[in-house]
């Protein structure tokens, strides 16, 4: 299934690019993320997620397939939640200058399996939208926090 | 684990439950009242309906530990003692049951429907009021007839309107 969305972050493009590639920031900003370690070509991560009635711990890998600073990021990922199911897919993240900051647009093609598909497929679009929302809100918070620290 | 005192079918019972213990599991596994059934896991089939302080509830949606002390619970086993309740009689007489699995939830629901309709009841009202209970055997035809028959026996007037759906 296809997921897409756009968010505005009120910081310049190269700063946004930097945090999007900062493992520590990502660990903090990804909802439910309990571990995120850089690897040669991406990350290994563990995420606790709840989609409708399905609650599970997913462990998986994210591979950075393309990175053109500070414009474009193509990521491929797959996570295994055991009995709860799995998710895998590819996401394209585009950064654009926008009034007062940066517009981040993402497009992802995701396939899900197991309980996640059986009980949660109806909820995937809305849940992922909500998760992305949390992510970018948290990103904004982190970046404005850093900004304040820099200013003081 | 927490302790709570409930009145189940008129008897006071002190029970120990986990935070996750659903009322239906308490009723079936700890009270050994197996007339209350589990037909789904999303609270949509109504096989587990019981009375809780005068209201019908799907007992698979109730966390036992959250109930107030002294909560009154009536299961199918408490609907009648000795002679059948008029609603139970009506289900038998009108062939409102086949495999019997949905029956306890339906009988408890049906009595409640009638008790809440002192001014009269029609077939289409019964159909709407049964929306929380699934039956896969009867096509509902004889269940609706049973509820109306039970209503008559319970002294509630049945309005003979043409059924419209």
């Amino acid at each position: 299934m296809k997921l897409e969305g756009t968010f505005t972050v009120d910081r310049p493009r190269d700063e946004v690019w930097q945090v999007l590639n900062d493992a520590e920031v990502l660990r903090d900003a990804i909802p439910g993320c309990t571990a995120l370690e850089p690897t040669d070509d991406g990350y290994e991560a563990t995420v606790q997620l709840k989609v409708g009635p399905v609650k599970a711990k997913f462990s998986g890998t994210v591979t950075i397939k393309e990175a053109t600073a500070p414009d474009l990021l193509v990521l491929a990922g797959e996570g295994n939640g055991g009995v709860a199911g799995f998710a895998k897919g590819e996401a394209r993240v585009v950064l654009l200058d926008a009034p007062g900051g940066t517009e981040v647009a993402y497009e992802a093609e995701v396939s899900i399996g197991g309980k996640l598909a059986q009980l949660g497929s109806r909820l995937i679009a809305s849940t992922s939208r909500k998760l992305a929302d949390h992510f970018f809100t948290r990103l904004n918070e982190i970046m404005s926090g850093e900004q304040q620290r820099e200013a003081s | 684990m927490s302790e709570i005192t409930l009145r189940i079918n008129g008897k006071q019972r002190r029970v120990t439950v986990e935070g996750r213990t659903l009322l239906v599991d308490l009723i079936r596994d700890q009270m050994n009242l197996t007339g209350t059934h589990v037909g789904c896991d999303t609270s949509q089939c109504g096989a587990c309906v019981v009375k809780l302080d005068g209201d019908t509830v799907k007992s698979c949606t109730v966390l036992t530990a959250t109930l107030p002390e002294g909560t009154e619970i009536t299961t199918i086993e408490g609907v009648s003692t000795g002679d059948l309740h008029p609603m139970q009689e009506a289900f038998s007489k009108c062939h409102g049951l086949q495999c019997g699995f949905c029956t306890p939830g339906l009988v408890v629901t049906a009595i409640d429907i009638v008790e809440r309709s002192p001014d009269g009841l029609s077939a289409s009202q019964v159909r709407k009021a049964l929306k929380g209970n699934l039956c896969r055997c009867t096509g509902y035809q004889n269940i609706v007839a049973s509820v109306l028959e039970g209503a008559r026996a319970m002294g509630v007037q049945v309005t003979e309107e043409k059924e419209t759906v």
Binding site: N80, G82, V83, G85, F86, S111, I112, G113, G114, A117, Q118, L119, R122 | R20, R28, L33, T34, G35, T36, H37, V38, G39, C40, D41, T42, Q44, C45, T75, I76, E77, L84, Q88, F91, K93, H95, L97, Q98, C99, G100, F101, C102, T103, P104, V107, V126, R127, K128, L130, K131, N133, L134, C135, R136, C137, T138, G139, Y140, Q141, E163, V165
Partner: protein, 778 residues
């Protein structure tokens, strides 16, 4: 017998326990020291299993054991073949799968059982199962039966020489059909779909297994329509033990509908696990687990073309079907493959037919029987096409059917598909149904609908059911005190056998019905039986019961002759008494029976006990009775929103001699509701990766009371000639007729608005889209 004011229906003997919460379903059975089983199900529709990591689960609270496919192999457990293949019914040889009860190498659909956890509580078992990590290497997936026959489709069974086709069953006369098409004045072609649906017994599947080391014997409590069949399958194929070493008990069963006509892997798993842990093991299927792992019904795509004259007489039908078997040829999948073709002629003289049904493997969970088992697909085709022909020729729905109906004086009549109907008054049924349904009052109702801004449509369809397959055995036994026990080979799970069979015996023997006990569903109590499915019990169970009675009376006569000091051949049995012809000497059967249990005395020579057994069988190669009926349906559609209500539905059923009219009608009502679910709301939806996306009641819609119209049901008694009781089956008729009755009525309503075709389930969204598309096209 029909209910009358003098002899009204008084309820069933089994009702009281269900109404008071005292029914005994398998979930209610708790054995001392029992523990619980949780399962790991495949999340991929097609993948190699690289590894199964159970290490965390083994350390979880309450866990007693974790078992995988490797353990199955180490213990030498066998695999499960189909119950029987089409070759047993005269079809070609096909590819039969062997299914592992725990899969260790390659999963072929979602929901395959990979590992089990045995733990102290059901919650412990489920929680621990969630920690088991299976590493998969995904393989390409194919979900559509027709796509699976393409040369480049992913293949499910490497050694199947026929690609993904298990078997293609041909039927009819190709040359005659081609000739008829060459001469045809009218031909119509359609592609019809019967999607996969869930049998959905309200009681989820459940099993308790217990291995008793002292006896070296297993006991399985399971929710089954056929306990002896389950016993044979598990003992012979999985555990490889003597059948006498396994007892199967199927107590009260909360609905079957074909789902429980065969074993499921969990039945074998709880037994095997019980031996492993030395304790009884219980598995309680959750609804979402069952949605994924239950066998499903239907799943057919068919291309059909009919040939007819301008006067509306059918001359030929040709059709090619693709039936979606799923990953395995499982359980009783054979009958629907045949019935979906054999019943295409329905009540009509159709001329020649040329039919093929391809049974195709895909990466979906296995298909098996569901109420109707192929008959609804056949009827859907016959009656959809009959309406297409009527619409094409501008003819009345009832008229065109009467033109084609087989005449009563043609009986016995052998159809172009080789079924021999013994009896049936089809055109009369159409007239009678029109009367029951107020066919002539339709115009006024259509006008009322128009005034409300809605459109009304109607249908009149007929159907034939083929009922009562295989063979059966029943036993009647007098107890020493003169009470009676019936030991039934059939299995009632809602059909009211305890009442109907007891009433029959009470009537035959003049024993009060309260002195009769009815026993079924336990392989230790019932010598052998086939269980209940395919509307078989009235004819095969009933006939066997009648023969058991005859045998019992014959034996009783020997004792009566001694006691009455008369010649055996001078005795008549009537009203519970043996009477010496032309004399006033008589003795009650009950007294005779008691004498068979006296330890000494002159009557002792006849040996101990008075019992009678009877067996029965359908005719070889052909089914023994053909219930049939006509259904009339009216729907109302709001053309702006696609909202649809089934406003009226009348069913007239020829059930042969009626044994109990209230129970018969109850069966019809229930079948109609299931048919309505199929027509309007039910569908097992899989995405292109083979993932089930309608896996709970949040996404799978079932009919509720407010969806159903008030059903007008009437019974007609055309005595069946193929059995001594004159009965015909009744279990499936409603489910056979209702889908097409409803869809045809919908099409009748929207055809004037430009919608010529729609597939099941006709949801509001689908109907709305079709109406908008038609609007745009005009």
């Amino acid at each position: 017998m029909k209910d009358t004011p003098e002899k009204p229906f008084k309820g069933r003997l089994e009702d009281r326990r269900f109404l008071t919460g005292k029914g005994r379903y398998v979930a209610d059975i708790t054995l001392a020291r029992q523990c619980y089983m949780g399962q790991v199900l495949s999340t991929h529709a097609h993948a190699r299993i690289l590894s199964v990591d159970t290490s965390e689960a083994e350390t979880m609270p309450g866990v007693i054991a974790v078992l995988t496919g490797a353990d199955c192999a180490a213990d030498g457990l066998g695999t499960v073949p189909p119950f029987f293949m089409p070759s047993l019914w005269g079809g070609p040889e096909g590819y039969a799968t062997q299914r592992k009860i725990l899969v260790d190498d390659r999963v072929r659909c979602v929901g395959e059982r990979i590992a089990i956890v045995i733990a102290e509580t059901a919650d412990d078992a489920r929680v621990a199962a969630e920690t088991i990590m299976v590493d998969y290497a995904p393989l390409p997936v194919v979900t559509d039966a027709r796509a699976a026959t393409e040369a480049d489709a992913p293949k499910l069974w490497d050694d199947n020489e026929n690609g993904n086709i298990s078997v293609s069953i041909p039927m009819g006369d190709k040359a005659a059909t081609e000739a008829a098409f060459a001469d045809a004045e009218v031909t119509i072609k359609r592609r019809l779909l019967s999607p996969r649906i869930a049998p959905f017994s309200l009681e989820p599947r459940v099993s308790v297994g217990n291995y008793d080391e002292a006896d070296d014997r297993y006991t399985l409590y399971t929710s089954s329509q056929d306990p002896h069949g389950v016993r044979s399958n598990i003992a012979r194929n999985v555990l490889k033990i003597a059948e006498s070493r396994l007892r199967v008990v199927s107590p009260d069963v909360g609905g079957g509908f074909g789902l429980k006509a065969h074993m499921h892997p969990e039945d074998a798993l709880v037994l095997w696990a019980s031996k492993h842990v030395g304790r009884p093991v219980k598995w309680l299927g959750t609804r979402s687990e069952c949605m994924l792992t239950d066998t499903q019904g239907r799943g057919q795509e068919i291309e059909v073309e009919i040939a007819a004259t301008k006067a509306g007489k059918l001359t030929a039908i040709r059709a090619e079907a693709w039936t979606n078997l799923g990953a395995y040829f499982w359980g009783t999948a054979t009958p629907p493959l045949f019935f979906a073709m054999q019943l295409i002629p329905n009540i009509y003289d159709v001329g020649a037919v040329d039919l093929t049904n391809h049974a195709v493997f895909t990466n979906l969970p296995p298909m098996s029987v569901y109420r109707g088992a192929g008959r609804p697909e056949a009827t859907y085709l016959a009656e959809r096409m009959m309406d297409e022909l009527a619409a094409e020729l501008g003819m009345d729905q009832a008229e065109i059917r009467k033109i084609n109906a087989i005449a009563p004086d043609a009986m016995p009549y052998t159809t172009a598909t080789g079924m021999t109907y013994d009896s049936g008054a089809f055109a009369d049924m159409i007239d009678a149904a029109a009367r029951v349904s107020d066919w002539s009052g339709y115009d006024a109702r259509a006008e009322e609908s128009r005034a409300k801004g809605r459109v009304r449509g109607r249908s009149l369809i007929s159907y034939v059911e083929v009922a009562g397959v295989m063979n059966e055995r029943m036993e009647i036994k007098f107890e020493p005190d003169g009470t009676v026990t019936i030991v039934a080979g059939t299995h009632s799970h809602g059909q009211g056998h305890a009442t109907v069979f007891s009433e029959m015996v009470a009537d035959w023997l003049s024993v009060p019905v309260e002195n009769i006990r009815y026993v079924q569903g336990d392989t230790d109590k019932v010598l052998i039986g086939r269980g209940t499915f395919a509307a078989r019990s009235s004819m095969l169970g009933g006939t066997a019961l009648l023969r058991a009675k005859d045998a019992l009376i014959e034996r009783a006569k020997l004792m009566a002759a001694i006691l009455l000091e008369a010649d055996k051949d001078s005795l008549d049995f009537a009203d519970g008494m043996f009477k010496v012809r032309d004399s006033n000497k008589a003795i009650a059967l009950t007294e005779v029976a008691k004498m068979y249990y006296i330890p000494a005395g002159p009557a002792n020579a006849l040996g101990l006990g008075l019992t009678g057994e009877g067996t029965s069988a359908g005719k070889p190669g052909a089914a023994p009775n053909y219930p049939n009926g006509t259904m009339v349906c009216e729907v109302e559609v709001d053309p702006r929103t696609g909202a649809l209500t089934v406003d009226r539905l009348a069913a007239l059923d020829d059930v042969g001699r009626i044994l109990n009219s209230t129970i018969c009608e109850g069966q019809i009502h229930g079948g109609i509701a299931q048919g309505m679910g199929q027509a309007l709301m039910e569908e097992m939806v899989f995405d292109e990766d083979g993932q089930l996306t309608s896996g709970s009641l949040m996404d799978y819609c079932l009919p509720r009371a407010e969806h159903m119209p008030d059903i007008a049901s009437e019974l007609s008694e055309v005595t069946c000639t193929t059995n001594p009781l004159g009965v015909k089956g009744i279990g499936e008729s409603g489910a056979i007729g209702a889908p097409v009755a409803i869809v045809n009525a919908v099409l009748d309503a929207v055809r004037p608005l430009g919608v010529a075709h729609i597939d099941m389930p006709v949801t509001q969204a689908k109907l709305w889209s079709a109406l908008r598309d038609a609007e745009a096209a005009q």
